[in-house]
């Protein structure tokens, strides 16, 4: 295995594009190094992107935030502007692993690891996050939702690097939230995770809604049916009941020792109801 630490994104892309065998991008390494220790792991090249200027920065732009691919999840929580704008995204990212893992893990890594149970991914999808992809054929911006395509699989092509996650400046009267269920109180992987992002009208009723479900399908689900149950409502009991039913119906989870299909479907509905309430309050709804 070869280790490279290029100083420019162009060099990093070229190294990955020209690599003959299996190659990996290294940011926080909290997934990659675990994989490296398994017997069937084989890598010819690891490209550490942390020496590339800007990768470790959260930039505030006219449009919103550009979160560099090497920004640790601990650093997200220390950025008060980001916490205030996207509390749901930050709380989701901060649920990953332990204090030690938080020091190193990144949202871009969480997205590209493509685990169905990734905590930050439903929150990013609910927030309509986009990612900037730099590849051999130039730069493109695509929806974060389109990166994971199945367990451990992404839509990225050879030589592609995500250099930043882009979050828009939130609309007035909007709020987001993420909740997950785990059997313990910390240090575990989501059995179900739900993110809700709401924008309210001047009268306090929901104008736009995005509801994303994690760990209940091969990759994150953005449920339009669930979102529709909230539009025009003030989260009255009937609306929350409909949301719960829609989220349970949209979930197509696996059965395993951590949760049965029936349990996961039920929990998806319950968490959606609770996350919607939190998002609604954060948006200023009462």
């Amino acid at each position: 295995m070869r280790y490279e630490r290029p100083g420019t994104i162009e060099d990093a892309v070229a190294m990955l594009a020209q690599a003959s065998g299996r190659s990996f991008v290294l940011a926080g390494g909290t997934d990659l190094l675990v994989r490296m220790k398994s017997d069937d792991f084989d890598a010819d090249l690891v490209v550490d992107i942390k020496a590339i200027p800007g990768m470790d920065e959260i930039a505030e732009t006219a449009d919103g935030f550009a979160i560099g691919a090497a920004v640790s999840c601990a650093e997200l929580a220390e950025n008060s502007a980001l916490v205030s704008a996207w509390p749901g995204v930050v709380e989701a990212a901060n649920l990953i692993g332990s204090t030690q893992i938080q020091s190193r893990c990144t949202m871009t890594g969480n997205l590209c690891n493509a685990s169905p149970a990734a905590d930050s991914v439903p929150a990013l999808v609910a927030a309509d996050a986009r990612v900037r992809v730099i590849g051999p054929n130039g730069t493109r911006t695509i929806s974060a939702q389109n990166i994971p395509v199945g367990p451990g699989k992404t839509s990225l092509e050879k030589g592609d690097i995500i250099d930043a996650i882009l979050l828009a400046r939130p609309q007035p009267r909007s709020g987001d939230a993420y909740l997950r269920f785990i059997p313990r109180t910390e240090m575990d992987i989501a059995v179900v995770g739900v993110a809700v992002n709401l924008t309210l009208g001047a009268d306090g009723s929901v104008q736009t809604a995005r509801v994303a479900l994690g760990a209940v399908a091969p990759s994150v689900i953005l449920s339009e049916e669930a979102a529709r149950t909230l539009i025009g409502t003030k989260l009255e009991a009937a609306a929350l009941g409909a949301l719960e039913a829609a989220c349970s119906a949209a979930s197509i989870p696996i059965d395993d020792k951590r949760g049965t299909v029936a349990f996961r479907k039920q929990v998806a509905g319950v968490l959606a109801r609770r996350a919607a309430r939190i998002a609604y309050e954060r948006a200023g709804g009462k």
Binding site: L33, S98, R104
Partner: protein, 160 residues
């Protein structure tokens, strides 16, 4: 496999070492530099026995490549005491009997040191969540939490 030359700072000293691309910081500390305080428990970032501080943040040294530490500042358990003067956390761990076999202890101490640097007056809940990535299979956690609380009080000048 060719070796990589790395220059870093460990416990305030400039250190240079050679390592392979796939060697972790934990491997380098234990096998190349003779710093055996950090322990390998799981090797996959779950147990915290290898906790060290890198640029002020506590990390699992089993999940950091040696090559990644170029230009970084590393703190290990070996740098915690000042000569024969123990750090307050070390003294309080002894006083509270917050260890039995001792394998998890260096990791707990490094994680607790980072905690008290960031939060000098943590609540019990904050301590328990911060240390959730450090596993102890001997004492349980109560004595450890009490030791950290007591050390925090001492470090704030509120002698007990």
């Amino acid at each position: 496999m060719t070796s990589i030359a790395v220059s870093t700072t460990i416990n305030g000293d400039d250190v240079e070492f050679l390592c392979r691309a796939d060697e972790t910081l934990l491997d380098v500390l234990r096998n190349r530099l003779g710093l055996m305080g950090a322990k390998e428990g799981c090797g996959t970032g779950d147990c915290g026995a290898c906790s060290t501080i890198m640029d002020g943040r506590v990390v699992c040294s089993c999940l950091v490549l040696g090559a990644e530490t170029e230009g970084r500042e590393i703190e290990t358990i070996e740098g915690m005491a000042n000569g024969s003067d123990l750090h307050p956390l070390q003294s309080k761990f002894i006083e509270h009997a917050a260890l039995q076999c001792g394998v998890c202890t260096p990791g707990f101490l490094m994680a607790a040191k980072a905690l008290l640097a960031a939060h000098p007056d943590p609540t019990e809940k904050e301590i328990r969540f911060w240390l959730a990535g450090n596993l102890c299979r001997c004492t349980g956690y109560d004595k450890i939490v009490r030791a950290v609380q007591d050390a925090a009080a001492e470090m704030r000048g509120e002698g007990t």
